[in-house]
Symmetry: D2
Subunit: 424 residues, 4 copies
């Protein structure tokens, strides 16, 4: 389904006066509100193709209705999100869950919704029916060269698919690790992984990047071969300039200071980008901003400060993507909440009085530094986001409009109650 | 398949001299080795019916060959384990994964292997095709009375199945909880759970118990309605004498002092029993004793001391069961390792010089208390376990014999390479 | 030093127009803003006497200047805070750090600042020079009856001091525990603690409460005898109606769902009150609201809902106190930030649309439930707090006024640069 | 006090028969027991000068009697330990707690006990009375160049002291960090730290190393400037070949796979050495091996495998030191237990059947890999340690002999009950 432009216009018209009052109020307190709006309009967050269906856990999965049954339907869902919030103009494919059979047609179809293709993702953490070798004991780190070779070739094939779609990055998440002490020689595993990645690196087009993700545990529960930012950094620095480290917010041990990692990776020119989600316990893959929105703001505070210090373009210099599991929420609604939370944090970070913060830091005025951060964080920036959406042609309240149009019911009618999306 | 008795005898014969030398050595250092052996022979650990197949994670599952395809084949696998180690004389069924169609026949079949039926387990964390209402938002805590009623009836049905099998306990693990703040009124959820459990409690036969399990998170990632021992205790104390709290070793937040919980539940007469596994991060469901065997010993130290203080029979006063996920190991081999690890910890705990420990505690002699515990723990008790097995008719080295007979290959031949067991 | 009333008036006058604009804006979006203001005016948070000095860690302590040298100076500091924010009208004494030699005079002195005395705190985690027995191995749980008796008598003496000051509660935090496995029989430790507390309980005046605090670790690093809410609950339920469980926000294992504990303790009528602080790793004792302000809001959401459900008076039914360590901030400034953060969370919780939330919960509309909570949380309620302060005679911006009057410099002149406060 | 040689001989004589029986038994199962003994004799663990006194927490400190009052008495205590276990032939000084006024005399005095001087430790986490600038807001990372310069000069002075004592390494632990978001620009802090370390690095003698320690939190509770192994590695790789990363076992977030870090640092030639202790919650600084001895074994398994793969001398290629806090145990007894635990883990690691393990790993035989590790770990190697001590001139049971001679009572008589050691 597609959302008629007039629906958005009607929606906006009905909320305009209230919106204006709120926006004018908040704008009065912001020094360069136009600059902030411009940055918010430019800032786009990619949607992964696997996020449009209902997720689950090892204990089960409770499908929702109207899930997309094909790549085209997933693109249409992202198109719907983008029409509503004008903040998600790209989709990130996962191979082999979403193989684009005809790249030209798929690109044209996406383009119709104003979408292009973000990083492509390989999958060597599951076995496919056609596969010669199993990844039960890992892929790029495997003791058996034949398994490694198969995994390398899969990654190169993913690059090929991506190139046809004008993607510019390969995103590699390995579940390689061990469940028990002794299972693995950890040094050997690291060295084999590096060797495998070097083969993949060589197959990268010149204008591509490879993003090396890390994760401490799950699905392996003793060691993970790329387990923390230091291990990913070690790999990406040995690989070369096209390799960088990807930060998934859920991929850290409890209490990790993620914003410090972000700050240092930026310093080293090695921050590839983000997979956004939130969590209370482990890699819970909850809606970003639903558990600890202040931490998200602190991360964006480091990003804005650090990218500005290196003259980087906020919108394009690194990758921004949601990666969450929608187990009990409608995926489209969940993604609308996610994008909103990310842009709230970004807008708050843009509001931080950086010169004053620098001065407070120079004076070791800890109280004042906290005041400065919380002044930005406590500001209700939602009207600025709405204004940016309004100007870009989106809806003042995307979620309310989505619900108001009963879009999900339409999707259920089109696709059925029992459709199941490919993916996890 | 069944293991011929002569195979065990041949195996034992071949190892007897070496075994005797080791046993005699360790026996010399133990004050009442015969008492220890007696207790080890009596001590049996139940095997859950879902443990015989390969487990997985939300990211995938890599089957092994020769998995049991039916309840009968699961019973046969437990029979094989018990023939080897004489330490697992019961099986714990999970409904509806393993519904015993004909109780009399199933009991007779189990009895053929020397097995009986331990606690029965209900399942309201997954939807079954035939089900009227979904458990997507919980079961016994659900806001909708109809859903709660369905879940109550399922539990009562499970009791009925159990009664036919001469089980004496219903084990209830609820995944009920919430993924996001606001999703649930937590007080209301608790009160509805209590009300539901009261209905189930009323259906319990007089000589039954209901075991109330707790778990902090997964598959819900914000709150779990029975989230910790205190919440389970609150429920079981309100329910009455037939209700007790079940401890699954993996169901705790990081760093929890589990042994203290065990000690206090014993004090209150509210310890139902154990689900054994090990973990490094969360509910990793690894082989018990594979990550932190000293903690396992410390738990058994509390058990032995606490049960003796209350005059409880170690073997029968509470429930002992393995509950792990065999993702990368042969399930039977994994279970053999698990039972061995549990009995090692138990034997070490039996070796603790309790009077000396009491004295050291009375003197606040912390150094000496540690020496006493570690003296028991450092002792290589494996020959004592082997002796107990030998006397009970089992194998000196169960795992070696299982491998030596190529039992798994036989199972693959019988059941095929692609058999998939019911369960997770 | 005391803050002249005219200074507050001048300060408020200079900010009044800006304040009014902000307040009018936010008030328009709140259904019963007058009700909220009334509740904010009533809501008072106690200051502990040990919070006025600089705190430290085992690695060191870096004093600030102008720290209070006596109980009188501590009272004066709280008076200054209260004059500024009209939200901290009581002080909580710690015995023996702050023994009130003459209760009548001290009460009159406090009363001069509009202050009274909140709960009194005993200390059996340190040895005092005059003490017969050492608490090295614990106090109320000690194996030696003489040590327990000394600790019991100390607590009874603290009640006596409190009674003279019109306190109504004894707050007991025990560091009793063990550093090593084997050091302690945990059941025995629990039973002795219960017995000791019963003696103290008997000495409580009829209109008093005893608040039993829990903490998982530090200063003991293997077990703590009152280690979690369940253990505290067990004790307070065995003691009787005058005993309740105190929640210190920093006294939980990582990832604990504190709001659920709060909800259940309220349900059971066993919530004594709070010690507020924030933390990222352990019992970090940071400024409340500085690390995870959303969690603080979620706790207050449970409090408001749960207290309303039981018809409890928010301001008086339970105890509210700050308990943090001011290692790198000026203590008075830190306390001003703390009180502000607590009242922001409280105000946001008052803004939650409870009927709509109940409906969303009834519908399992998880998306909507999150929207409702975040609508309240995202609202910038600071102008409502300022309005409440203004009406109560406090300052629109307490921290700015404190800094503007150079109050700390005056304190340094009065008390010196090297004054060191009693306490940690 | 000094332990007469005859006391050791008498002690050994009395235990010899029993020892021989046990040693002969275990030796029969070890393929190269002489090689193991040789390595155990060579393996020495340094004692830090601050470990001889009682430690404490921020809540208090409970002194023990007979604590050493001077550097000479600390050396004597290490001498006593070494006489007993022949495994601690060096002492690691902390400046300024233990400034050697006359290096020649101190070396001679140490030499009398068979001791030399291990790494020297600087201290910029506390203020000294004579100091011009405060470290309240950090040292090598400080925003103020004058503070950094002071800290640099202190480190260079420590090198000077060390050079006079024939030390060969400077060990740097910084508490630099921040308690609150915003307090610090984390990139700037890192860059200033690097710059400061470069100045120190330049002052290193050619045959020296600088060991860069990391720690995630405490005494700072938001960020630590050298917070994890990746950050330390980044610094040490930028500094040069003489810089390496020091691993303190307690300096990790919960659940960290420390053995993997060890394996990779060895791979990169960047492992400086160890500070040994154990912990359940945070940096608990408990006796090594008292909480999770299997983890300690797993770390040694990586060390033995990794050092052998690089042809490194186990005893001398990296630094081995205890760093724990003796809060409730006699420090000397605690150190004897610590050294024993370390050498047990080392001996067990030497017993691992490495070729079989390599084969199991090559076969992905996870069950077998676990069997191999646990076969080594379950072996009671204590008689091998005793044999190594016996041959080196130490005691078969050092702790029993220490207690038997009532050495602590003698120390109390010499030094008094209330002596307090310098340090924490």
């Amino acid at each position: 389904m597609e959302l008629g432009k007039h629906l958005i216009e009607e929606h906006n018209q009905s909320l305009l006066n209230t919106h204006k009052r709120k926006f004018d109020f908040v704008a009065e307190g912001v020094s360069d509100v136009e600059g902030v709006i411009k940055k918010l309009i430019d800032f786009q967050i990619a949607i992964p193709s696997w996020a449009l269906g209902t997720g689950g856990t090892r204990f089960g999965r409770f499908s929702g209705g109207g899930e997309p049954r094909s790549l085209e339907e997933k693109i249409a869902d992202v198109g719907l999100i983008h029409a509503l919030n004008k903040s998600s103009n790209s989709i990130s494919l996962h191979i082999p869950w979403d193989i684009p059979e005809n790249a030209t047609e798929i690109k044209a179809y996406a383009s119709h919704f104003g979408l292009h293709f973000d990083a492509v993702n390989s999958n060597t953490f599951q076995d496919q029916p056609s596969q010669a070798h199993s990844y039960k004991y890992g892929s790029l780190h495997h003791v058996d060269k034949a398994v490694r070779q198969q995994a390398i070739e899969h990654n190169i094939e993913v690059i090929k698919y991506g190139a046809e779609l004008d993607s510019k990055a390969l995103s590699v998440w390995l579940s390689d690790g061990s469940n028990f002490p002794g299972q693995l020689n950890m040094r050997g595993a690291f060295e084999r992984t590096l060797d495998s990645l070097q083969h993949i690196y060589e197959a990268l087009p010149n204008d591509w990047k490879v993003w090396v993700e890390y994760k401490p545990y799950e699905p392996n529960f003793y060691s993970t071969t790329i387990g923390d930012w230091g291990q990913s950094y070690l790999l990406s620095s040995k690989l070369g300039e096209k390799a960088q480290t990807l930060v998934d917010l859920g991929h850290h041990l409890g209490s990790t200071n993620i914003e410090q990692i972000v700050s240092l990776l930026l310093m080293e020119g090695k921050l590839a980008g983000f997979h956004f989600n939130d969590s209370k316990y482990g890699d819970d893959d909850l809606t970003v901003g639903s558990i600890n929105p202040y931490q998200l703001f602190l991360i964006f505070n480091e990003l804005v400060e650090g990218m500005d210090a290196r003259g980087m373009n906020h919108a394009t210099a690194i990758g921004w993507m949601i990666d969450a599991s929608h187990n009990v929420k409608d995926p489209i609604e969940d993604l609308l909440q996610s994008v909103e939370a990310i842009k709230i944090a970004y807008a708050q970070a843009l509001l931080v009085d950086q010169p004053a913060l620098v001065q407070a830091q120079q004076d070791n005025d800890v109280v004042q530094a906290q005041e400065i951060l919380q002044q930005a964080y406590r500001t209700d920036v939602r009207p600025i986001l709405a204004e940016a959406r309004l100007r870009a042609g989106g809806a003042i309240q995307p979620l309310a409009l989505f619900r108001g149009t009963a879009a999900r019911n339409q999707l259920i009618q089109e696709r059925g109650l029992k459709a199941v999306s490919t993916g996890l």
